[in-house]
């Protein structure tokens, strides 16, 4: 495990429940608890999108949650990663195709890590977050590089990202 190399980062998580059954949410809570204690990795559950790096989403995104999810995602500063927790957040799980939900959060925001399981064990969530940390680091580097090389990076992170990177490029030029 090369975990030590990730330790120089401090991912702060934001948890949003987009209509899940609470199953995965309580497992996220369990991750914070002494037995799993994800603060070992410097993780804090901030509850504040503006200071978070990792968005942990559960639930299949109901129609009413959709706008809130996107809003919260937009308020998080890059670099950020999204971890979808549990089958229903990944793909809709058992709720696929129900009339009021959308079948997976990646229909609305780009997801980096999918944590499987229904409900996912805390171990799985930790694995997912650690996976996310690597991506976070890579994204940070990409962002730096893109500023240095004055070129557009990370394709997948949509318009939002591109706009501010363009601004930074202008600044350097």
């Amino acid at each position: 495990m090369k975990l030590n190399s990730f330790r120089k980062k401090s991912p702060w998580i934001l948890h949003y429940n987009a209509g899940s059954c609470n199953g995965c949410d309580i497992e996220i809570l369990a991750c914070l608890a002494p037995k799993y204690d994800i603060e070992r990795f410097g993780i804090i559950n901030t509850g504040n999108p503006k200071q978070s790096d990792v968005l942990l989403v559960t639930g299949p995104v109901t129609k009413r949650s959709r706008e809130r999810l996107v809003e919260i995602y937009a308020q998080m500063p890059e670099p950020k990663v999204v971890v979808s927790c549990g089958a229903c957040a990944c793909t809709g799980g058992v709720f696929r195709g129900m009339y009021n939900c959308e079948g997976g959060i990646d229909q609305y925001i780009p997801v980096d890590v999918y944590v499987c399981g229904c409900g996912s064990r805390p171990e799985q969530i930790i694995d997912g977050v650690i996976e996310a940390l690597a991506i976070l680091e890579k994204k940070t580097k990409d962002l730096e590089q893109s500023i240095r090389l004055k070129k557009e990076p990370v394709k997948e992170d949509t318009q939002l990202n591109r706009r501010d990177i363009a601004a930074e490029i202008k600044e350097i030029a």
């Binding site: 401090s10 204690d37 070992r40 990795f41 410097g42 901030t46 200071q51 890059e78």
Partner: protein, 282 residues
């Protein structure tokens, strides 16, 4: 020369020291909850990370006030460490806090507002007590300068233990520790004033928190000032006390806090002042 050198070094290193204290505090907190906790240098990792984030602000006034909060707090700390006038230090601290409060008010964000409201209330809770303690110290030493406390023959702790008790009561308010962490009230107002800061701008607030740690522990140290060992012991005691308290109490609401401070802490400080004036004066 040496007199100046050490404080100056301390001042320059204050954020680093504060960061370490903060990191240590997080570990202690975790241990008190039977967790492993983050590594000691975690605050610095946070620091590095925050610097990397995309810069996002609500508006410039808000962000700028946040930065100035940090600057002025550092300045207040510098005056304290350089042995400046205690009352002035308290007011300079008020100044820095007020910048934070204004930052909170400057956005149209509910929680930020509530946080600012509550911070303003908490000023009401601790400022008079601190002033009374400072005046008591003056009564003993004959000067408001912190340096004179160092030069005073005995430790303040033994001369005015009640003042120390009062200090113990208001420090959790200042450090935003349970049961008086109402200004931050994570589960209620998600951080209050800090809420709208992000990235590098949050960094200023974050480090200001570390500086606040140093500030408060320095106040505690003053009670054992002429005996460094006692001073350190006091700091350790205060540290344990505050964290122990933090981990064994729920958050009260602001009215209860106000009541507590005005009915318990303030009278204690006042009695201490009276005792000092009546019996102990030079």
């Amino acid at each position: 020369m040496k007199d100046i050198l050490i404080p100056v070094l301390l001042i320059l290193l204050a954020p680093a020291i504060g960061g370490l204290v903060y990191g240590f505090e997080r570990i202690v907190k975790a241990r008190m909850q039977r967790r492993t906790g983050p590594p000691l240098l975690q605050p610095f990792y946070d620091f590095l990370k925050l610097a990397d984030k995309r810069k996002m602000i609500v508006h410039s006034t808000h962000a700028f006030l946040g930065i100035m909060h940090f600057v002025s707090l550092w300045f207040a700390l510098a005056v304290l460490l350089l042995g400046g006038d205690l009352i002035l230090v308290i007011f300079l601290h008020l100044l820095s806090t007020s910048l934070l409060i204004l930052a909170g008010y400057s956005t149209r964000s509910i929680f930020s507002h509530l946080g600012a409201n509550r911070t303003a209330i908490s000023i009401l809770c601790y400022e008079p007590v601190l002033i009374l303690i400072a005046v008591s110290a003056f009564m003993l030493t004959g000067s408001f300068d912190t340096s004179s406390i160092f030069n005073y023959g005995a430790s303040l702790l033994f001369k005015m233990p009640l003042a120390f008790v009062a200090l113990l009561m208001v420090l959790p308010i200042k450090l935003k520790k349970s049961p008086f962490d109402i200004a931050e009230g994570h589960q209620e107002i998600t951080g209050g004033v800090e809420l709208e800061f992000s990235g590098i701008f949050y960094e200023a607030i974050y480090i200001a928190k570390w500086l606040d740690c140093v500030f408060c522990y320095t106040l505690a140290y003053l009670f054992g000032a002429n005996d460094p060992l006692l001073g350190m012991g006091l700091v350790l005691f205060v540290f344990l006390f505050i964290n122990g308290l933090d981990n064994s109490s729920a958050r009260v609401n602001y009215k209860q806090m106000l009541k507590f401070s005005l009915v318990v802490a303030l009278p204690i400080a006042f009695i201490n002042l009276l005792i000092t004036i009546l019996f102990l004066q030079l």
